[in-house]
């Protein structure tokens, strides 16, 4: 009997030893079929091996090479057997729309992509007018998943209505926020979804050329995307789109290691070969973007959510969610976490449900002290705020932001003054240096926190004024959001800041 194994080739699985597992399988069962897929997103189970039994994929994890013989001998009875993968609670409770195929298929297998619902969205899009397509995106309620939450349909409409000889679709894959990995998992697990989303965006706006600006720290994603682009050209997903006569092609461009190039205007500068410094807006990139031409700049997840919207209709997508936050969001659970990974669900779950129920609290087992939501520039939340529902407006109202939906968990041993200092230091290291509040302010912020640590009674007032200057005066979100973690740490955990002061006195 021929066996079919599925094993992630995702960077997180490989980091946990998936390649050695693959080698062990090939050696132990040379006749078995081994399909390398993306990841299911349950990082604590990686390498998560799946074996198809009676048409159902059963999971084993975390698997080591030495486990293979036992699994081959007695799959069901193996101690690492997890039962049907889709029944694992972390997975079962998700609503996988954007990530529907991630972990399921081989990333660059065009046939598998089609067999699992791929290209349906593009086919429908090709039958629609550009205006109707934009309306579809507007109706879905999709907002920018990079963090800003700007309505994607409105951005597309601006580009669609702009008059130019050339327009572009630029995918922001410079996923630099610590604790986030949704873009990477999508690109490594189901790159055609992103390509399809970009092609649809191209048709809707009149853009014939796309770029994925991919960070250099993602070598696997770069390789997968490049392979996918070649496969897509062969498969009609790029070039003459499905033989329709509509043209769209794209390239993968690799960044050079600057966090700030995830900011859309510095990304465009970098893409043009210039210094990655922030541009003032206006002009909006939608009107004067890449090479001065109208450009859609969308995050990976925004674009990758487009095919499902077109395949199943805007209403199906908009059915998910809460308030003005429609559809699903791939939450990334990281830090000191028991069940780390990617969890796609409709907006509206509370922060507490995500941290405690889904993520299972801390890995150390100690109480959760704080969580940082939205990357290194996101605000800290303390357990008393855990009833905040996951949504753009809801987090804004609570003094935070959801950003790229990364949640980093800290236990009660975290030094929040140190974390505040880290936020300023991060800003100082990553600042592009253009605007004064960020360029000088971040350095002074570190100095002020050091003064607070040494018990300087004046420093807090200066720090708070500095945070106001940075928040309201900075040119982009890097300097503008750095005060979020700093001030939230200060407000939520004053003792962490005051204790040092007392100690010094």
């Amino acid at each position: 009997m021929s066996m079919t194994f599925y094993l992630p080739k995702d960077a997180s699985a490989r980091a946990m030893g998936a390649d050695a597992v693959a080698a062990a399988i090939t050696k132990a069962a040379p006749d078995a079929k081994l399909i390398r897929t993306g990841t299911r997103g349950m990082t604590w189970l990686e390498p998560l091996l799946e074996l198809e039994l009676d048409g159902t994929r059963h999971g084993f994890g975390p698997v080591e090479p030495g486990d293979i013989a036992g699994i081959l001998a007695d799959p069901q009875g193996h101690p690492k057997a997890l039962g049907p993968v889709t029944d694992i609670p972390f997975f079962k409770t998700q609503t996988r729309l954007t990530f529907a195929r991630v972990g399921v298929i081989a990333p660059t297998d065009m046939a598998a992509y089609g067999a699992h619902g791929g290209l349906t969205g593009l086919r429908r899009a090709l039958s629609m007018s550009a205006a109707a397509m934009v309306e579809e995106v507007k109706a879905s309620g999709l907002r920018g998943r990079g963090g800003a939450g700007f309505p994607t349909g409105i951005k597309w409409d601006t580009v669609r209505l702009a008059n130019a000889d050339q327009k572009y679709i630029v995918c922001n894959a410079d996923e630099g926020d610590s604790g986030t990995f949704a873009d990477r998992m999508l690109m490594e697990g189901d790159p055609f979804t992103l390509i399809e989303g970009m092609a649809i965006a191209g048709i809707a706006t009149g853009a014939t050329k796309g770029y994925v600006y991919l960070r250099s720290e993602y070598p696997d994603a770069i390789a997968t995307m490049n392979a996918a682009v070649i496969a897509a050209r062969k498969g009609g997903l790029l070039g003459d789109l499905l033989g329709s006569g509509q043209q769209f092609d794209m390239e993968i461009r690799v960044g050079a290691g600057a966090y700030v190039c995830g900011e859309e205007t510095s990304l465009l500068n970098s893409l043009e070969g210039k210094r990655g410094v922030v541009r003032a807006k206006p002009p909006l990139p939608a009107l004067e973007g890449f090479m001065g031409k109208p450009t859609v700049v969308n995050n990976v997840i925004s674009l990758a959510s487009v095919p499902t919207i077109f395949a199943n209709g805007a209403a199906a997508y908009a059915d998910q969610g809460l308030g003005r936050s429609r559809g699903t969001i791939p939450v990334q659970l990281a830090g000191n976490v028991k069940f780390g990974g990617l969890f796609e669900a409709g907006f509206g779950m509370t922060l507490g449900a995500l941290v405690n129920d889904i993520a299972g609290g801390t890995a150390t087992g100690r109480p959760v002290k704080a969580v940082q939501v939205g990357g290194p520039l996101g605000a800290y939340f303390a357990p008393h705020q855990f009833d905040t529902p996951f949504g753009y407006e809801e987090f804004d109202g609570a003094g935070g932001l959801i950003g790229h939906a990364g949640i980093t968990i800290y236990d009660d041993s975290a030094d929040m003054l140190g974390m505040a200092r880290f936020a300023m230091e991060f800003c100082a290291v990553e600042s592009c240096g253009k605007c004064t509040p960020c360029r000088i302010g971040a350095v002074r912020g570190v100095e002020m926190l050091d003064r607070m640590k040494s018990g300087d009674p004046v420093a807090q007032e200066v720090l708070e004024d500095l945070c106001e200057t940075m928040r309201d005066g900075s040119l982009c979100a890097l300097g503008g959001f750095t005060p979020y973690p700093v001030l939230s740490a200060l407000r939520l955990f004053p003792d962490d800041f005051a204790a040092r002061k007392e100690a010094a006195e």
């Binding site: 003032a280 004064t436 500095l466 005066g473 900075s474």
Partner: protein, 963 residues
């Protein structure tokens, strides 16, 4: 509030725009501005300044300093006013508690990283950072900053952020410790100058302004020292050394640069009668606030110790000079001149007018020969540069001048640059051209050398036609062939504006297959496909403009090429509107003016022939004399006649013919044969070695007058200090005239101010009829013709029809020059100039500009160098049929194999020893650009150079003044 007006050269923060009117409210005042204007500029125009540091209106808004934040009703947050465009009905508040606090917060950050040495800083009182600290009301800096860029030492050792001052540039310093990283310098270098020498290196707190890359400093980087960065810097970071030495200026006078024909307006900033610095004037219509290294910085010659301040005479040129009083010198000169006229004849003396002096001065010099000497023996250095322009454009269009203003380049789509090297010769125009090229205009360069305009940072010519020197006519005619035979001519324009029959004849001529690119390729060296592509581009690429220089005129067929260029413009319908036209780039500051003022022996002011009795009558009645109806002698004829013993006396104002004119040996022989050579100059120039009378000249800083630039723009020159020699040049000419008139017992001249001379010019010359000093004061400048038909002057010529009536096509038969290469002289030498030096170098060699070019070098292709065993930097002998000299070789592929190139800025090289006496068939303009030469290794200066140096030293001896 609305009654308040900023000075016209105030900084409005962001550039002016030209959209439809938009009305908004700023702090309760309604203001209407063009669409696209920033809130910052609108506010300034309403009389409400907004604090700013990174914004300045010479460059686009950047939005980095965050001082100009405002609140706008209905908008979130505090947008930067510099980057926010106005919208109709917008309600802006420039001062709210919110923005006031933010601005103070930003200033506190700036000052936390700034050395507070204001009282001893060279920018004290002239520092925008200082001003803004006051404006925002900063009262305290609470950061006890640990990490800074200004402290030389940190707590634990040397401060790694500290970078010492860069003093490598001779004129300004870069002090990184005072830098606020506003990027104004970087943006000025990119947007205004177009050199891209500066960048920001590092990021975040490590962001630093950097010239070049790696170990470069300002001097070794690509920096061309134009001063745009210094101009843009709001602090003492980039600062003129002169200000550091002298202190900040306390008054300023707007005047006009005395270098090239661009005619940039400058503010001469003064302290007492000391010039502190020259700052480009933003309202100058030629330069729009930009400058180059010469005009901006190279004014030190005016106070150089070589300047001669007292008149001197000597009986023989082998005698040493004797300093005498003005009276003695003038009467000595007048007696000699009148004596020569008595013993020989009236026509035995003459004058050479200067293209560096003012219109008024030039007018007086030609008047001197016509009204006092009684002949037409006047010529000018335009003879040796742009005389073919006068002839060629006069014949085809009807005026002897360029058709456009410089602003026109902002509307052009395809530019032909032929025989010009604007980045070196006309740098401020080149910057404006490069800006347009970066915006997408296409460029065709026709030049034997790969000049910087062919390819440099962020610009590249679509086509470079690297022709063999001397084949301009063939190339231009082949372009016309392509346009006509491919049906690309603009026939409706030609029918409408030109003589159709002449066109038909011309079309038949150029259509002949012998003019095809394929046929001419053999001797022009330009591949046919390249030439055809260039011709197609020019004919079909939109607004086409042609800019040309001495590489066109200084040939035996110089006039023919000018005619060919005019033909091309007419053929493609590119005359008479913005963005097109034919534009000679004039070499010297007032070469246009000296031509306008009747400097040529056959023309009275306004290009009217002396044989024309009506014109003579105007001047005869104004001057009370009879004017000789026969044209006088051109410079080469004067020298020929001198050698023949028939021309004996010369008054030469502000020109050094010995160095600048071709075939130096012949010039020297001519001068040596004269009995009275009067040199009127700042320095004992090379010509003065053969002079009997030296009359000290005044600089452009020391006199009033006007210069006329390449766009026919009459700009005011204003006296900012008293003449160090005692008299302005127009006064000296008047004194000489009066000394001569005294000898003959005639009535004296009595001008008391150049404005009176301009009145005389206006009353006698129709194209200047409307020009008065009052008008120039009011308008800043005007372009001639300025008269009742065009009271504000004429920016564009030939708008509704050519001045001569119908545009005239003239056939342009290529005739190869007689100067041919052969076994003895197998290479072709062509000459030119370099950015840092000007003309014969009399001025620039006496400034720190020599750091960029301290000697003339010979550019030679690696192939030719290899054949001759020449290595880079070797001394080589350069020989032609006329003479030989030695200089150092520079091996470069800028020149093609078979072509060598040098400059003529240094008298000890004397490139013109080499050049021949071949000249333009129509105007005698010398053929500087083509000389057959041989190059060979050499040990050092030639015998001729050594003899010349010895003779010059002997000739420059000055006897100590009598006790």
């Amino acid at each position: 509030m609305k009654d308040f007006r900023f000075p016209e050269d105030a900084d409005f923060g962001t550039p002016a725009k030209s959209g439809a009117p938009v009305t908004l409210t700023i702090d309760g005042f309604e203001i209407t501005v063009p669409d696209g204007t920033s809130v910052m500029r609108a506010s300034m125009e309403a009389g409400i300044p907004i604090p700013k540091l990174c914004a300045t209106d010479s460059v686009e808004a950047f939005g980095s300093c965050r001082l100009c934040l405002v609140e706008i009703e209905g908008r979130r947050g505090t947008p930067a006013s510099c980057t926010t465009p106005v919208t109709p009905g917008m309600v802006v508040h420039t001062q709210t508690p919110k923005v006031a606090k933010l601005r103070r917060g930003v200033m506190e950050l700036y000052i936390s990283d700034h050395p507070l040495d204001c009282l001893t800083c060279s920018a004290n009182g002239d520092c925008e950072l200082q001003d803004m600290a006051g404006v925002v009301g900063l009262r305290d800096v609470r950061y006890d900053a640990q990490d800074t860029h200004f402290a030389q030492r940190a707590a634990t050792g040397p401060n790694p952020h500290y970078i010492p001052k860069d003093e490598s540039n001779p004129y300004f310093t870069y002090d990184p410790s005072k830098c606020i990283v506003c990027s104004r310098c970087v943006r000025a270098c990119e947007e205004v100058q177009g050199t891209f020498a500066l960048t920001i290196e590092g990021r975040g707190f490590d962001s630093r302004v950097k010239a070049g890359a790696g170990a470069d400093d300002f001097l070794t980087s690509d920096c061309v020292s134009c001063g745009a960065c210094v101009q843009a810097c709001p602090t003492a970071t980039l600062r003129e050394k002169s200000v550091a030495e002298i202190g900040t200026p306390d008054r300023s006078v707007v005047t006009t640069c005395a270098y090239c024909g661009v005619g940039c307006s400058f503010k001469a900033e003064m302290k007492g009668d000391t010039l502190v610095r020259m700052v480009p004037w933003k309202n100058g219509k030629a330069n729009r606030g930009h400058s180059c290294v010469k005009g901006r910085f190279a004014y030190g010659y005016a106070s150089h110790s070589d300047r001669i301040l007292n008149p001197m005479i000597r009986d023989k040129i082998t005698d040493p000079w004797r300093e005498v009083s003005w009276d003695e010198a003038l009467s000595f000169a007048a007696k000699r001149l009148r004596g020569l006229q008595d013993t020989h004849d009236k026509d035995s003396i003459g004058v050479i007018t200067s293209s560096r002096c003012t219109n008024e001065e030039t007018y007086l010099v030609q008047k001197l020969t016509r009204a006092v000497f009684g002949n037409n023996n006047t010529d000018t250095c335009a003879r040796v540069c742009h005389s073919p322009t006068g002839y060629g454009l006069g014949q085809t269009f009807g005026t002897s001048a360029g058709t456009q203003d410089f602003d026109s380049v902002e509307h052009t789509d395809v530019v032909i640059v032929i025989g010009a090297n604007p980045t070196d010769g006309h740098p401020v125009f080149a910057s404006r051209l490069k800006k347009r090229l970066r915006a997408g205009a296409k460029l065709i360069v026709i030049d034997p050398r790969r000049t910087d305009i062919v390819r440099s940072n962020h610009i590249e010519a679509a086509q470079h036609l690297a022709l063999r020197p001397g084949t301009n006519v063939a190339v231009v005619t082949a372009m016309a062939h392509t346009i006509v035979t491919e049906g690309l001519a603009d026939e409706s324009f030609i029918k409408d504006r030109c003589d159709w029959e002449e066109f038909a004849e011309y079309a038949e001529f150029v259509s002949d297959p012998r003019h095809s690119p394929e046929a001419t390729e053999v001797y022009t060296g330009v591949p046919a496909a390249t030439l055809r592509a260039a011709a197609r581009l020019f004919a079909t690429g939109g607004n086409g403009a042609i800019y040309y220089g001495l590489g066109v005129t200084e040939h035996s067929q110089g006039s023919t090429t000018v005619i060919g260029i005019a033909n091309l413009a007419m053929l493609t319908g590119n005359v008479g509107r913005n963005g097109v036209g034919v534009n000679p780039l004039r070499g010297q500051n007032n070469v246009q003016g000296s031509c306008d003022m009747g400097s040529f022996p056959h023309e009275l002011p306004g290009y009217r022939h002396v044989k024309n009795a009506d014109t003579r009558a105007i001047f005869e009645s104004a001057w009370g004399v009879t004017i000789n109806p026969e044209p006088g002698l051109r410079i080469p004829n004067m020298l020929d006649e001198a050698v023949q013993g028939r021309f004996k006396g010369l008054y030469c104002q502000g020109e050094d013919i010995l160095q600048s004119d071709p075939d130096t040996k012949h010039v020297a022989a001519g001068l040596a044969a004269m009995d009275c050579v009067i040199v009127h100059d700042l320095f004992l120039n090379e010509t003065a070695n053969y002079a009997h009378v030296f009359l000290p000249g005044s600089t452009f800083l020391e006199k009033d007058g006007t210069f006329t630039n390449a766009e026919r723009r009459i700009n005011r020159v204003r006296r900012v200090m008293a003449p160090k020699n005692g008299y302005a040049d127009w006064q000296v000419t008047q004194l000489l005239a009066n000394a001569c008139l005294k000898e003959s017992g005639s009535a004296q001249w009595s001008y008391s101010h150049p404005s009176e001379i301009m009145s005389e010019i206006a009353s006698t010359t129709p194209s200047f009829a409307g020009v008065t000093y009052d008008l120039l004061e009011e308008k800043g400048s005007v372009q001639w013709p300025c008269n009742d038909d065009a009271p504000d002057g004429t920016p564009l010529m030939h708008v509704d029809g050519f001045v001569r009536g119908k545009g005239r096509f003239i056939v342009t038969e290529y005739v190869a020059t007689d100067e041919k290469t052969g076994p003895r002289f197998p290479l072709l030498l062509t000459t030119g100039r370099i950015l840092s030096q000007y003309n014969v170098g009399a001025q620039t060699r006496r400034t720190a500009n020599v750091v960029w070019h301290d000697q003339d070098v010979l550019e030679i292709h690696p192939h030719d160098a290899e054949n001759r065993g020449i290595k880079d930097g070797d001394f080589v002998k350069l020989a032609s049929r006329s003479g030989e000299t030695a200089l150092r070789a520079q091996i470069t592929d800028r020149v093609s194999p078979g072509v060598v190139y040098t400059t003529f800025h240094h008298p000890d090289t004397q490139a013109n020893v080499i050049t021949t006496d071949y000249s333009d068939w129509a105007t005698n303009c010398p053929e500087y650009k083509v000389t057959a030469v041989q190059v060979s290794p050499s040990n050092g200066p030639t015998e001729w150079q050594e003899e010349y140096a010895e003779q010059a030293a002997q000739s420059r001896r000055i006897l100590p003044a009598a006790e």
